[in-house]
Each structure stands twice: as C-alpha cells, then as structure tokens.
C-alpha cells in the first residue's frame, strides 16, 4: 500500500494530467445533454456581466446601424399594419379563435456572438427573469437566428442556426414541400436545406420559411432564398443551398419566441412517444 502511494506521488503529474483531461472531456460530451446543470457557459453571472458591460460600451459605436435596422423594421411593421385592414385569410394562422396572437416575442440584445466557429453560440442579455425558457426559437426582423439552449436568471445562450447540431423543419414557400435546415460549417451566410423529396418546379430565389411543424418557430418565419439546388449522387433527396435572410455578422437585437402552448404540445407529443414504446 505504501509503495502504491509512493508510486502515485512520484508520478503525480501523469495522474493530474489524466484527471484534468477526463474532466474536460466529460464537460465536452455532456454539454448538450444537460441543460442547466453546468456553469460552464456564457449565461453564468461572471461571463454574462463581462460581456454585458463590454456590450454596453460597444453599443455607442453601433448606434447608426441599429437606428437603420430599427427604421427598416418600423417601415415593415407599418406596412403590415396597413395590410391587416384587408381581409387576409393567412393572418388567422398566428391567432387563436378569439383573435389573440398565438405567439408573443421578448426583445433581447446580443452581447456575445460567434459565426466563424464550427459550432456557434449567441449570448443574450435577457434570462429566465424576463420569461425566456429553454428550446424557444430566436428570430430577428429579417429571419431565424437559433434556439435557446441555456438560461440563467439574467442571461441566456442561443444555439445559432450556424451550429452542426441545429435542425428545424422548413418549407419551400408556394408548394409547401418540407425539408430540414442543416449547416455544413463553411459559410456564415449560407445554409443547406436537406431531405427535400420531390420539390416540383424549383427556381433560384424561391423563398424558404419555417414550417408549421416546427416546435420552436412560429410558422412562416423567413429563412432565406434558394441559390442552388440539386441531388447528391446516390441520394433520393434534393439538397438546397440557401442564402440566409439573417445577417449574423451584424446581429444586434433579436426576439425570443414565447409560445404559451409549448408545454402542452411537448407533453402531448412525449406521451405519444412514451405510449409507442
């Protein structure tokens, strides 16, 4: 026993090395499976505060761009308001029978954003105290951004669309053919839509938007426009190369989707899955 301890003490560096590597790799491989159990994310109070303070300071340099984007959004909303006066059958999709909107949105500011890594995350300055919950979609006025994966009281972390594990059902506007978004990791301005079967007649510039089957996004949110399309050799499915509507390099303000029916949908779907087993 004594010699065993002596052995460990003499070669402590190897054991320390193996222990620290084991802990690191444990964190790596459990990060996405445990939602709020780990403190190692940018929503914890220390990193959140650093990013937020720096973000406040940086805000002053981006005032003009932010103004421009808000003006554009204002114009768009004004236009929609005007269109609402006309009877529009599709407008009823996002309202319940009493006319209340099915989805509401929480505005939040981006304080951390990466888009050149193989897996990208965005940090927001709003958290559970503001009503943000895990697995909710995040959008901008121009298109989809990602989904919330970690929440702390004051901050939250969003898995960007530019992430190897991000996926959401989308449709080709006009013919309603389903597909799924997937990022290859090479360009922050483009995304692939995969698993598209028999898309019918396609044209460059066709719009891709979120599908009604999406659990995280409201239906009809802009994703992007088709730039290329084709079948991969040996595949029955079409793959579309889509130019993203959201500009990730100038992301400043986003909206987190609030869906009051989310828990009900989720438990119902899970009960079906459980019953199947």
């Amino acid at each position: 026993m004594r010699s065993f301890f002596l052995f460990i003490i003499r070669h402590y560096a190897v054991f320390l090395f193996l222990l620290l590597e084991f802990i690191s790799l444990y964190f790596v491989f459990t990060y996405n499976s445990f939602h709020n159990t780990l403190f190692i994310n940018s929503a914890n109070s220390a990193t959140g505060n650093v990013l937020n303070t720096y973000g406040n300071f940086q805000d002053y340099f981006a005032l003009r761009e932010v103004n421009d984007s808000l003006m554009k959004e204002n114009a768009l909303l004004r236009q929609q308001l005007f269109l609402d006066d006309l009877p529009d059958t599709s407008a009823s999709v996002n309202r319940d029978t009493s006319g209340k909107p099915l989805f509401t949105y929480i505005p939040a500011e981006v304080i951390g954003n990466s888009f050149t890594e193989p897996n990208n995350y965005i940090t927001l300055n709003k958290g559970s105290l503001d009503g943000i919950e895990i697995n909710r979609g995040v959008i901008t006025s121009s298109g989809i951004v990602g989904k919330v994966v970690k929440v702390s009281p004051n901050y939250s972390v969003v898995m960007s669309v530019l992430h190897s594990q991000f996926g959401a059902p989308v449709i080709i506007k006009g013919n309603n053919v389903l597909g799924r978004v997937a990022w290859e990791g090479k360009s922050p301005t483009h995304i692939n839509v995969i698993e598209v079967s028999e898309p019918g007649k396609l044209e460059k510039g066709d719009t891709i938007e979120t599908a009604a089957t999406s659990k995280i996004f409201p239906p009809g949110i802009m994703v992007g426009t088709i730039e290329e399309f084709g079948k991969k050799p040996g595949s029955n499915y079409y793959t579309l190369d889509v130019k993203l509507a959201t500009s990730f390099s100038s992301l400043k303000f986003v909206y987190v989707v609030v869906d009051p029916m989310w828990t009900e949908k989720e438990t119902l779907e899970n009960s079906v899955i459980d019953a199947g087993n």
């Binding site: 402590y12 560096a13 320390l16 090395f17 620290l20 590597e21 802990i23 690191s24 790799l25 444990y26 964190f27 790596v28 459990t30 990060y31 780990l38 403190f39 190692i40 994310n41 940018s42 914890n44 220390a46 990193t47 650093v50 990013l51 720096y54 951390g112 954003n113 990466s114 888009f115 050149t116 890594e117 193989p118 897996n119 995350y121 940090t123 970690k150 972390v157 190897s164 290859e184 990791g185 090479k186 360009s187 922050p188 390099s249």
Partner: protein, 173 residues
C-alpha cells in the same frame, strides 16, 4: 521580486483572456481563420514551473475561455494537453548552446526563430486538439486541416508580435 513577477504575470493573463474573448472572438474574420492567442501565457511560463502549478492553471484558463465561448471543456482539454507536453517540447527544442542562464522562454534570450518555432509547435497542437473536438464528425478532413493550419499561422504570428512588443518595452525600461 519573485512575487511581483507572478503578480505581473497574473495581470498579463487577465488582459490576455479579455483580449481573446472581447476582441479576437468578436472579430470573426473568416471560417478558415479563428486565432487563439491566450495559450501565450503557457508558452511564457518559466522553464522550471512545477507541473502541479502548470496543469491546474492551464485547466482554469481553458475553462474560463470555454465559459465565454460555450465550448464546454474543449479549450480546457487542449490547454491541459499542451501544458503536459511543454517540458518535452522544451527539451526537443534545446539550442546547441543549451539553456544555460536562461530561465524563461523569451525572444530576448533565445531569439525570434527559436521563439517562433516553439510557439508554432505549441499552438499547432492546441489548435489541432481544439478543432478535432469541435468538428467531431469528420466529413471534410481537407477543410479541417486548412482551418487548423491557417488559424495556427495567424495565432503564432500574433503571439510573436505580442512577445516582441513586450520584450522591447522591457528592454527600454
């Protein structure tokens, strides 16, 4: 004197981490180039730094970067590995004259070429481990290799420039 030296190192480390997470990480230059210069703190530690200081320090710094980047333990894993491999690398890069009277891996004492080569090796190992963990599904090895090589070159260049500026300021004082 020793204590002051370590306090200065610690302050330098904090600035290095802040520079990494608030400046470099926000630059998002290109999908091919994402420089990480914070391992510089490990490169600049004295040769005789005991492992029981170096390994936990590398882990702590790696985890700090991981928190900001949401990369779980990827930077920690890469950092601990280069901290463990450092003594062997130092031995492998022994100059012909040996390390006589040299206690720190610095440009002023060992020259730019030695420092650049040593940095290049350490950074290459760090980036390789980090990106292998990032892109766990290896469907495009060419892209991964290009990313590792280009990022390594840019990180190394930045670190050598920093070390050069720092060494010059010290010499002037």
């Amino acid at each position: 004197m020793q204590a002051i030296n370590w306090i200065l190192r610690f302050v330098g480390l904090i600035f290095l981490i802040l520079f990494q997470v608030l400046v470099l990480n926000k630059l998002n230059v290109s999908v091919y180039i994402h420089p990480y210069v914070y391992p510089m703190f490990l490169i600049l530690l004295p040769f005789e730094t005991p492992k029981w200081i170096m390994l936990p320090l590398a882990f702590a710094v790696g985890i700090t970067i991981d928190m900001f980047n949401n990369t779980a333990g990827m930077h920690a894993a890469a950092c601990v590995f280069i901290a463990y491999a450092r003594p062997w690398l130092i031995k492998a890069y022994t100059p012909i004259t040996g390390y006589e009277n040299v206690s720190n891996p610095s440009i002023s004492q060992l020259g730019v070429v030695w420092f650049a080569l040593f940095t290049l090796t350490v950074i290459f190992i760090h980036h390789t481990i980090y990106y292998l963990l990032q892109i766990f599904v290896l469907n495009d090895l060419g892209f991964l290799f290009l990313k590792i090589v280009l990022s390594t070159l840019v990180s190394t260049l930045l670190i050598v420039i920093f070390a050069f500026l720092f060494a010059k300021r010290k010499a002037n004082r």
